[in-house]
Amino acid sequence: MDTQQTKDIYTEEFLMNMGPQHPSTHGVLSLELKLDGEFIRECTPHIGYLHRSMEKIAENRTYTQFIPFTDRLDYVASMNNNLAYVMAVEKLLNLELPERAKYIRIIVAELNRVASHLVAVGTFAQDLGAFATPLFYCFREREKIIDIFDQICGNRLTYNYIRIGGVQFDLPAGVDEKVKEFVKYMRPKVDDYDRLLTYNTIFLARSKDIGVLPREMAINYSVTGPSLRGSGVKWDLRKDEPYLAYDKFEFDVPVGENGDAWDRYKVRVEEMRQSLRIVEQAINTLPEGDPTVRVGRVIKPPPSEVYCRTENPRGELGFYVVSDGSVYPYRLKIRSPSFSNLAVVPELVKGLKVADIVCVLGSFDIVLGEIDR
């Protein structure tokens, strides 16, 4: 390291470890920072503290047995993980789903997206120093979604609800009213966040023009989800490669302008509104019928390989599944959005202050469970 000796004071670069135990890393992430005073010269992330070898486990479990493991990837949006995995297996099986199953899946996935974005917005505000209040507000709303999920499938965090060939249970009686009520309740709350946080002077000062991610860099690093849209790229799989029945619903794809932390936050808030729109349309036009198609207890897909990606709250979650005709997947690769999104962070934080790392990390809304897998 360079040491500059002046008369009686000297300065030098020094290494600082941020994490693995640090509240703002949203899990166990370790950042090795090379600092010059308060400014970051270099940032090296060390990941893998939560590595549970999911991909190896998958090779030793049947296709159905692996569904609960996907809950533990991105544990803030378990429904969406179930969906992505199950859709990959269904693509292997060439399975056509009943309309009702598609609609129920969209409803739970979009509700989970709102819940996930609520966590993202709440913790982002908390990271920036808006201590407790926004987080409590967001978790108050999230609780209502979890109540609905509790009623639908009996779990509050790891749902294991979406199954190969449909869903675990049909929606119980009374849930549709509850969902409609929630949409009505939630809309003004999102406006509240705008008034409380989005245009708050301190919030703007902390997040505007911090961690600017240019459009080309975002694509080059394969950044996806709200972080990509924050950089002004209008790309949403639900719109561009519609799966399930997303092409039947009206919704907009919000994009940012500058690609800074504030834009990424703003895209999330706007996406909550759009998700509510989708939920409302889906619950009002929910088709009748059986939401499952019989697949049998032993699932043996023909030998082939598929790659299937869906739009998760954090970006594009992809499953590359290789089948050799047996009951176990021959190989299962999980392409997690947070993994690629985190890879761009070292580039963005160069030259920023230590406090801004927290802002940049928070704006990417990473979940270490799916980075380490």
Binding site: G48, K56, M217, I219, Y320, Y328, R335, A343, R373
Partner: protein, 150 residues
């Protein structure tokens, strides 16, 4: 562009690129990977997003799978490279797509495939002093739980 159109364009430019039976995945020779990748990166195909890199251990060979998409043109290609177990080395694409950096590190960590020209080839998910490559089919560990009986 449709998959068969893309495949046609690539195969007229590179006659040695073949198409995998049953899927529309393209197979490139290990030596020409960098050249093919360079071509895919730029217009007319403009595959600007290297979405996913993974490997499949087929015992007699190792398959590397590159999943590429284009945000501008809205199409995608899956490119494969087959390696023999004796020579698990291939050119790194990190200079073309920045996302390859971490994705290749992951493949190196779990399969032991080395990427020449990679800026920082270290383990990423496992501890730096880990022995062996866990996702290879011949990997064994006393703590590994056997397949459940059905």
């Amino acid at each position: 562009m449709r998959p068969d159109e893309i495949s046609g364009i690539i195969r007229t430019k590179f006659p040695q690129v073949t198409e995998e039976a049953g899927t529309n995945h393209l197979i490139a020779a290990k030596e020409s990977l960098l050249e093919v990748a360079q071509y895919l990166r730029n217009p007319p195909l403009a595959l600007d997003n290297l979405h996913c890199i993974t490997a499949i251990d087929r015992k007699e060979k190792m398959e590397l799978v590159y999943t590429l998409y284009s945000i501008v043109e809205r199409h995608g290609v899956t490119l494969k490279v087959c390696l023999t177990p004796q020579d698990l080395n291939v050119a790194s694409l990190a200079a073309l797509w920045k996302s390859a950096n971490w994705l290749e590190r992951e493949v190196y960590d779990l399969f032991g495939i080395t990427f020449s020209g990679h800026p920082d080839l270290r383990r990423i998910l496992n501890p730096y002093d880990w022995k062996g490559y866990p996702l290879r089919k011949d990997y064994s560990d006393p703590q590994l739980i056997a397949k459940p009986r059905l």
